[in-house]
Symmetry: C2
Subunit: 316 residues, 2 copies
């Protein structure tokens, strides 16, 4: 018997459907990790590739026991009502963590080292520009939401000489963080930290948690970086605080509203850098998702816990 | 007997003059490290604080056996003719290495992650902005000039998942680098690396070494970062290469000419970020210099080699 698929022999891989359309590269990766790729009617699992919940089937065959979604943040999937308790659901949380963490660190450095302000200058003014330059080394940074992205941010900041205060839902210690606070004590992070990186999901508990008071407590030398979800920050308060010079600056890969409309004040404030939700750049998404799903196929085949399990009650 | 100075007792510290003017904080630091601070006429060493060689004395008392200069790069001091072979001269090379390295890494990330291009955008265009985003993780970076700054850049890039090809004068292996090339093989670095960070001094051998051919070999996705000296890059070739899209972009903390005049094309190219020689920001300079000189006082007192010895024949 010859086996066409590469990799070690696998005999108990799942039968997976891929939707909504065919995805040859993804299907090859699934096969290489031991799955059979089949029609939805004969599948016991479904790997979805469309980031818009509206294209998702209204109902799924009963024998589907696992659904893999392509998003890292699933709040739209939860509110669309497609998630049920009848089967196991996994998000792609963590699939894009390394790239998102690198983006967050790039943004924090760009803010703290004065590059954001300098990028709007067209004249050599060393005394003024010098005042814009701080150092991440020696700074204390709040990393709020210490899942895959937060943990990867902490590792990178530690190697740059910063210390990190992690904030997680329950405050269980995060490796590499100087301290970990539970979400109920997040206000402490704003007062003891020099800067903040937000990498938390959008949930009823996190929405608007970075309010006017939080921003003021971070202070006039602090840079705020958001690579999680835009609505955890009160945008109006952010604009006001920046205009009044009560916050050093903000680098945002996610915004509220999103997309950020043309003419919004955040586009023109000199202490703001916006990137349009590209911390995991589109051209990296598919490869990263492929690797993530292949790992989940291997885990399912060998009975290990899947990556990215949805926590429906917590809302992420 | 009571001793007013903190730290361990020191009995053989040098007698140092500070010039051109009094510097109370520096003098306190010198005393704390075991030196006596005295007039030039009775000093056996001189600690200079003015970065402009024109204010330096035309001649020094014979008993001065050590002169500490405040600059990390001493080409202007060499060409001004103030350096003699009658005594030991030290520069501040390395004093500012950590901050300069952080600036270099911030600049490389800002280029590669698309932040430089994005900083000129005022509209949410995910497909276009996504194309600007690359990753430093997995990239191979040439670090040319692997003194204190280069070594600190390599350490930081390694922790971000990049591999580094170091280039040094003689090619002696640099810790953390994948490979080290001698300066005579620098052309190899342009062809095998994705990006380049320049941290070398200005010498007859380095001036103009990053020429049109080097820039083209780096290529249209490559970012060039310069935190060393502006004249190691052929500025006209850089402008041309960027205009033709043959180089991805450039982040320059040093330029040629420097200061970069208003209206120079580098100010307005969308793939260029200029910071006006602030990688060691002025407000950090004095503290960093103080710590550096104090260490040299301790070394001189205990007979260890000084940091930053001038290599007059090599020109740095």
């Amino acid at each position: 018997v010859t086996r066409p698929s590469p990799g070690p022999p696998v005999t108990t891989g799942p039968s997976l459907a891929v939707g909504p359309g065919p995805e040859p590269d993804l299907e090859d990766a699934l096969r290489a990790s031991g799955a059979q790729v089949v029609d939805l009617a004969s599948a016991d699992g479904l790997v979805w590739t469309d980031s818009d919940p509206s294209s998702f089937p209204d109902s799924l065959p009963e024998r589907i026991t696992w659904v893999q979604l392509p998003a890292a943040g699933v709040e739209r999937w939860l509110s669309a009502g497609v998630i049920d308790h009848e089967r196991e659901w996994t998000s792609a949380a963590g699939a894009y963590a390394e790239s998102v963490a690198e983006h967050a660190v790039a943004m924090l450095l760009a803010g703290v080292r004065g590059l954001v302000r300098q990028s709007r200058s067209q004249t050599w003014d060393r005394p003024v520009a010098g005042e814009w330059v701080g150092t991440v080394s020696g700074a204390r940074v709040a990393v709020v939401g210490a899942g895959g992205v937060g943990a990867a941010v902490i590792a990178r900041l530690a190697s740059l000489g910063a210390s990190c205060v992690a904030v997680t839902r329950r405050g269980q210690p995060v490796p590499g963080a100087e301290t970990t606070l539970p979400a109920s004590d997040v206000a402490t992070a704003w007062t003891v930290c020099d800067h903040a990186v937000l990498a938390m999901p959008s949930t009823p508990q996190t929405r608007g948690v970075v309010d006017r008071r939080a921003l003021r407590e971070l202070g006039s030398r602090a840079w705020l970086v958001n690579v999680g979800r835009g609505d955890v920050v009160d945008t109006d308060a952010l604009v006001d605080t920046l205009r009044e010079g009560e916050l050093g600056g903000a680098c945002l890969d996610v915004t509220d509203p999103e997309p950020l409309p043309d003419g919004h004040p955040l586009w023109s404030l000199p202490t703001v850098l916006i990137t349009p939700h590209v911390a995991n750049p589109p051209h990296h998404l598919r490869a990263a998702y492929r690797e993530f799903v292949a790992e989940n196929v291997r885990r399912r085949t060998t009975g290990r816990p899947l990556l990215g399990p949805l926590n429906i009650s917590a809302g992420y």
